[in-house]
């Protein structure tokens, strides 16, 4: 039954996972994501599932690996420093083609950093993060409802492609409360055909990432590559709000995109023709949409709560078409809509001045 409640982002995400059939969670405490394990430590046993507070993030991600190997919908969550420790397991899971959902409610870094919201983990998330030639699928919610909805989507993607999926949130999304429509409960799926269960009436199965015979590893790398190419073709999610004759298109994701949206709406009321592209999947990245916007508007402004990470993907997507501007707010600094509005005005006026001089 669908029900409307007021919920915190982290709790919404945890509820979404349970409704999507997640019955096991393994994690280690770290601020600012403790609402997730705290909620699940009660909810999962009630649903007949397993909750373990592991001795470290290393142990947690490897418990996820074991649960995934027997076909369970397993999840862990952490923040920056803990996600760094989990990279070992993520690399092994990508290599072993095991599905799981990993949530990063980011804090600032490097090192112990701070607990304020940033987007400094974009590259770690979208490039794989651990050793070897692999990618994670990365989803970037921007509301409490999306925290819930994308938890379900993440499990579907993880099992469709047999690959870990990361949900990249931040301290704002984790802590803020918004109305949430729950109740998208899915039936519990059967264990997949590749899962380990004991070799009853069949040949033994093996889940591994070690390939030593000549040519084996090369073939495995190309197999993974082809999977990621399929992901790029089929799984891009993006919100495009670009009215005709835009002269500037902003690109932002996550909580930052909400601030940018306010700035875009205010600028439009003042007569500026500005658009907004909000990637929902960070890998696969909405390259085609960015390319089209660059060709039409000739100017893009990327706003991130870091010193410039997604902007590199925007530049790659543009491939030299149009100018790419960047405005960054690292270290826990959250921009105000006014600051971004001023930046929009500055870029558009500078361009008008340049044209007038020419």
């Amino acid at each position: 039954m669908r029900e409307k409640i007021l919920a915190k982002g982290s709790v919404a995400l945890a509820m979404g996972a349970v409704d999507a059939g997640c019955r096991c969670y393994f994690g280690y405490p770290i601020t600012p994501q403790n609402d997730i394990p705290e909620y699940l430590s009660a909810a999962l046993p009630k649903a007949g599932g397993t909750f373990i507070q592991a001795e470290s993030e290393l142990a947690a991600i490897n418990m996820v690996l074991g649960a995934a190997a027997v076909g369970a919908r397993a999840m862990t969550s952490s923040s920056g420093p803990g996600i760094s420790l989990m990279q070992e397991g993520l690399s092994y899971m990508a290599g072993s083609e095991l599905p799981a959902v990993v949530v990063n409610i980011t804090r600032s870094g490097p090192g112990l950093g701070g607990i304020a919201p940033t987007q400094g983990d974009y590259k770690q998330a979208t490039r794989g993060g651990g050793h070897g030639d692999y990618r994670l699928l990365v989803l970037a919610p921007s509301s409490v409802q999306e925290m819930y909805d994308l938890a379900g989507a993440a499990f579907a993607l993880a099992f469709r492609y047999r690959n870990p999926v990361m949900i990249l949130g931040d301290a704002i999304l984790g802590q803020m409360k918004e109305p949430l429509l729950t109740g998208a409960t899915l039936p519990l799926p059967d264990p997949p055909a590749w899962a380990l269960s004991g070799a009853r009436l069949r040949q033994p199965r093996l889940i591994k990432s070690l390939y030593l015979q000549e040519g084996e590893m090369t073939a495995h790398n190309w197999k993974l590559y082809n999977k990621y190419e399929a992901v790029k073709r089929q799984e891009v999610r993006v919100e495009v709000d670009c009215p005709p004759r835009c002269t500037l298109v902003l690109v932002a994701y996550g909580s930052c995109s909400r601030i940018v949206r306010t700035a875009v709406e205010r600028s439009r009321r003042r007569g500026f023709a500005v658009g907004l592209i909000r990637p929902i999947t960070l890998f696969p990245f909405p390259e085609a949409e960015i390319q089209r916007a660059a060709a039409a508007a000739k100017r893009l402004l990327v706003v991130e709560m870091n010193t410039g990470q997604m902007v590199d993907d925007v530049r790659l997507a543009c491939a030299g078409t149009g100018a790419v501007y960047f405005k960054g707010y690292p270290g826990g600094e959250v921009p105000t809509p006014e600051q971004i509005e001023q930046e929009i005005e500055r870029i558009i006026k500078a361009e008008e001045l340049r044209r007038w001089r020419n």
């Binding site: 393994f26 290393l58 074991g66 070992e88 380990l196 199965r205």
Partner: protein, 251 residues
Amino acid sequence: MAELTKKKVFGRPSSLKESAFHFCPGCHHGVVHRLVAEAVDHFKLADSTVAVIGVGCGVFLYDYLAVDCCEAPHGRAPAVATGIKRVNPDTFVLTYQGDGDLAAIGISEIIHAANRQENITVIFVNNSLYGMTGGQMAPTTLPGQKTTTTPAGRKPRGDGYPMQMSELIASLPGSVFVARAACHTPAHIRQAGKAVRRAFSAQLEGRGFSMVEFLSACPTNWRLSPEEALRFIEEKMIPVYPLGIFKDELT
């Protein structure tokens, strides 16, 4: 004249695949593999076992043991096994780990799995050094023992003392069966087989964490002949790592 009949008195365990071991001459991994396979057969577990394999010379267990297998990252087998067992409590879950895997990089995972009383069985093969990477010092290396990274012999102060994992694990209330065995004589192999079966029983009865540590020969990296390696176990290893059952709470 009485008719001669043939009766099979000894054979390959059915859960041990028909493939030749890749191990060096005199290595004990093959014997330990066989003992595990015999226990799997004894309890008829071939179709309900998942073996979790650590990183080291034992990583190719899946080439020999005919059960479902999962590789674990170096040292993390007890965590992987925890995930598997908690999802499927009816699956028989064992880990197969070397001394670098279990006593160095994975010491946190093994201690916490034992401390949580995870209902899993650990087969721990201690050959006193890192065999697969070419004979470097392990936490289990004996004082004075020469390895490729202790060319003058291991000095406990600075290099560390040999870690007695069975004694350590037995001290935790979550462990229910812990034994140290060896394979350097037929009598010891028979004793070891009994210990493995007892450890399996602990899990099958749902009692909790069980572990059998094997003192295992590595003639190649010890720079000894297989026969000398057997004497090394008797004369050098057993004084540091006494054999026996350290804990047995099964009644």
